[in-house]
């Protein structure tokens, strides 16, 4: 009974998604129209940690909480890439995570989207050039949308997902993110 009293006292704590603030988000490539049509109202998200420091994970886990509540948009995390429509990839892709990331991508049925979360996922961030890193996410799997930030805020991540499925409008970016090749750099060093 105490539990329900508390639930009543606290009330709904979900905040409306703040307007604007789309600068952190880049659309990397034109998004498949069929994917947008199909995934408008229901998206299964599979999160892949490709070598992240877990900063981004901390923010992502905020999405499922009552404050950001991604479920209200019809988004939900799923337990298997077979059930997923969208991969949320974080971190610079480390050597050990390259194959798993590719396998996850292959295991996701079409149509599917990939959102790269965080500076590391965009261009390897502070890990660029490390011998343990293969490259950014785009060098392993095709990426649709990138969110910058170290770490990006949950609201940004949420907006990026909504942009990816076409629920928020954003013009296609002119330039793709700098395609760094840390492996090559490592060789040069």
């Amino acid at each position: 009974m105490k539990l329900f009293q508390k639930i009543r006292r606290v009330g709904i704590v979900t905040e409306p998604l703040p307007e604007g603030g789309l600068d952190a988000i880049t659309i990397v490539r034109p998004i498949d129209a069929r994917a947008r049509r199909l995934l408008g109202r229901s998206v299964g998200i599979r999160q892949v940690d490709a070598g992240s420091c877990n900063g981004c994970e901390l923010e992502i886990s905020g999405l499922a909480g009552p404050t950001y509540d991604l479920e209200r948009f019809g988004l939900h995390f799923v337990a298997s890439p077979r059930h997923a429509d969208l991969l949320l990839v974080t971190g610079p892709v480390t050597r050990n995570m390259e194959v798993p990331l590719r396998k996850t991508y292959e295991a996701t049925p079409d149509p599917k989207l990939v959102v790269a979360v965080g500076d590391c996922a965009r261009d390897c961030g502070v890990f660029a050039g490390s011998y343990a890193v293969v490259g950014n996410v785009a060098s392993v799997v095709p990426v649709d949308v990138v969110v910058s930030g170290c770490p990006p805020s949950p609201a940004d991540i949420l907006r990026a997902i909504l942009v990816a499925i076409g629920r928020l409008d954003l013009p296609v970016a002119s330039a793709p993110p700098a395609g760094v090749s840390p492996a090559g750099q490592a060789d040069a060093l």
């Binding site: 298997s80 890439p81 077979r82 995570m97 194959v99 798993p100 990331l101 396998k103 996850t104 295991a107």
Partner: protein, 682 residues
């Protein structure tokens, strides 16, 4: 007019099995196999035709040969409907098994004598058929013993394997204990008829009513021991999970599908037909033993890792289910509810026939798997559905039937068993209502656990990736084997669709036996089953039709609306690089949760050995072996003390056997003195 066919058909049956036995003297191995196949198919066809003749017309068969074994009462054969039902069972299974044997016996050629195998196989089939037609004590016991001995030789076919020989010895010991009990039962039965009419069943039947109730009780208990040990009833089932796996698979199929049923036949013949039923405690005892058999059987089947042992334990389970029905029948008869008794006994016999179909199919499929992979260990199998599609399909059909899934036949008979208990639960006698309530619970638990067992038996054996090279290089079995398996597997849905005719035949066979109504009550309205008490209706045909229609309809609709491509990819394993069979769930792992739940019953002995790489730290582990064994309780509690006692007595008597003549003469003098003293004293 039709009656005139009975005698030729009988001789056709005998001749067929004789041909099978004549494999003993065939010049080439090929001819041996052909003899077995032609003989058992012809004999089976003859027997089946004869049985149908007796079941469906008013024909009957009587052959008297008083000169044979005159001292013991002569040879007497008479086939009535109850016997014909079981004859149909023997013959019906003999045909597919005979076909199967053509190819299966090949794998024994060169290693073991197939000629001797052919001879004993023919004798086994013949003796089982003759048990059902025997009409006096001596004929019955003789055929019973012939059946036991011939099957013993088949069990020890692989006589160079210790396990087979052990299994054979257990079987021989148990079956002879049973035979002694049966002989005693017939002796007691015959003590009532003073006219020395040679203990024909007709004479025994008329005199049994005059016996004092203690004698009747003793006869019933002896028959229960004798027939129960043959049927694999707990606690006399210990031989079954040893002998059935040890025998060649076509013989296992016959033993499991047919021979154990003759134990039930004996029980019905003596307990119901000759004694005419008894007081309520007979039924109660049967229900308790039936529930114990069903639960013990299914619990040990669940944890068995040997495919054929699993099937053997599941036979114990199904015999338990049949006994539950038979027990309810006895109980209702004693309570003066013949209609309910009829329902219960019909349900039991329907399950018995259905079990013959699916257990036959399962054992033959298991044989096909052993033939192809060389192993019976489920933990070493897997992936057979792509390598042996037909065998996997028959195994699936058998598994679904035995798990009582609609629309197959096991479902129909288990449903009827449930229904047959309901009139008893509604009874006003508290003890009976309570007993049957628990019976319903036991039935339901058995059904659920059987489903789990057969998900394991089929799923781990046939699906996913093979776990050993043997399984990986498996090949489909030759045509004749597949034909045998397919016949029995096809019988599963067909028997479900033909429930009503089958049931009518069964009630026809039971009508008039003991106190059962002489005009069989209708258990159906059209194609819908309807219990006589009006408790429930169910139509197997309609359920099957609707189920197939809905599944097919869904498939068609989905083909129309969802036309997206299907890709083939790796199994999802959290991104790991490659998949190996070691990542799969094994048979032991599958049964682990239920094994933990029933821990107090299994009392497993677990053994974990850890190979540590560095002595200074226990966390660097090189290897880890986990071993678990289950020592069955009946073995521990009931048999080991007996075996130990026998051994102790044997050791003690060995001390007497000094080998010295002086000692032996001394014994004689000693005994003489004792005897003299006794004579003088009294």
């Amino acid at each position: 007019m039709t009656a005139a066919f009975a005698l030729p058909l009988f001789w056709l049956m005998v001749a067929g099995y004789a041909i099978a036995s004549a494999g003993l003297v065939m010049p080439t191995r090929r001819l041996v196999r052909m003899a077995v196949a032609i003989g058992s198919v012809a004999g089976g066809a003859g027997g089946l035709a004869l049985a149908c003749l007796v079941l469906w017309t008013d024909a009957s068969l009587t052959i008297e040969a008083p000169a044979v074994l005159a001292a013991a009462g002569g040879w007497l054969v008479h086939l009535d409907r109850l016997g014909a039902l079981f004859l149909a069972l023997v013959s019906g299974v003999a045909i597919p098994v005979g076909l199967y044997a053509i190819a299966y016996m090949r794998s024994y050629e060169g290693r073991y004598s197939t000629r001797w195998m052919a001879f004993t196989f023919g004798a086994f089939l013949l003796s089982m058929s003759l048990v059902t037609v025997a009409a006096n004590a001596v004929t019955f016991l003789l055929c019973w013993e012939l059946m036991a001995v011939s099957s013993f030789f088949l069990v020890v076919t692989e006589h160079d394997r210790q396990a087979s020989v052990d299994a054979g010895l257990w079987y021989l010991a148990m079956t002879h204990a049973g035979l002694l009990a049966l002989m005693a039962a017939f002796f007691l039965l015959g003590s009532g008829s003073a006219d020395g009419s040679g203990a024909t069943f007709a004479a025994l039947r008329s005199s049994a009513g005059l016996l004092p109730s203690e004698t009747r009780a003793a006869i019933f208990l002896l028959a229960l021991l004798g027939c129960g040990s043959k049927a694999g009833m707990v606690p006399f089932h210990v031989w079954l999970p040893r002998a059935h796996p040890a025998a060649p698979s076509h013989v296992s199929a016959l033993m499991s599908a047919v021979m154990v049923k003759l134990g039930i036949y004996g029980l019905l013949r003596i307990g119901l037909d000759l004694l005419g039923g008894g007081p309520a405690w007979w039924g109660t005892l049967l229900i308790i033993l039936g529930a114990a058999s069903a639960l013990t059987g299914v619990l040990y089947a669940l944890v068995a890792d040997d495919l054929k042992e699993l099937l053997a334990y599941s036979t114990v389970e199904n015999v338990g289910l049949v006994l539950l029905g038979v027990g309810a029948g006895f109980l209702f008869l004693s309570l003066g509810q013949p209609e309910a008794a009829m329902l219960a006994l019909s349900a039991a016999l329907l399950h018995l026939i259905n079990h013959a179909a699916f257990k036959g199919a399962l054992f033959l499929s298991a044989g096909s798997i052993v033939h192809a992979t060389g192993t019976r260990d489920i933990n070493l199998l897997g992936g057979l559905i792509t390598r042996m599609p037909w065998t996997a399909t028959t195994l699936l059909a058998g598994s679904m039937s035995i798990a009582a899934l609609p629309p197959l036949n096991g479902f129909v008979s288990e449903w009827l068993l449930f229904q047959s208990f309901l009139p008893g639960v509604a009874s006003s006698r508290a003890s009976i209502a309570g007993l049957l309530t628990l019976g319903v619970g036991a039935l339901a638990l058995t059904g659920g656990l059987a489903a789990a067992t057969f998900v394991k038996a089929f799923g781990v054996t046939c699906l996913a990736i093979p776990r050993s090279p043997g399984a990986a290089h498996a090949h489909e079995s030759p045509g004749p084997m597949l034909a045998g398996m397919a016949l029995l597997a096809a019988a599963c849905p067909l028997l479900a669709l033909a429930t009503i005719p089958t049931l009518t035949t069964i009630t026809g066979a039971l009508a008039g036996v003991a106190g059962l109504p002489s005009i069989a009550p209708a258990l159906h309205v059209g194609v819908t089953l309807r219990t006589p008490t009006g408790m429930a209706t169910m139509s197997p045909v309609a359920v099957a039709m609707v189920l197939v229609a809905v599944v097919a309809g869904t498939w068609i609709v989905l083909r129309l609306i969802a036309r997206r491509p299907v890709h083939v990819g790796d199994t999802w394993g959290c991104g790991r690089i490659g998949q190996s069979p070691r990542m799969e769930y094994t048979s032991t792992a599958f049964a682990e949760p239920l094994r933990r739940v029933f821990d107090q019953l299994y009392r497993p002995v677990d053994d974990t050995a850890v190979g540590v790489v560095r002595p200074e730290s226990p966390y660097y582990i090189e290897s880890m072996t986990y071993q678990t064994t289950i020592h069955p309780w009946f073995q521990r509690v009931l048999y080991e003390p007996v075996v130990q006692g026998v051994e102790r007595v044997a050791t003690w008597t060995r001390a007497l056997q000094s080998g010295s003549v002086n000692a032996y003469v001394g014994y004689i003098v000693f005994v003489l003195v004792i005897l003299l003293a006794w004579v003088i004293g009294f």
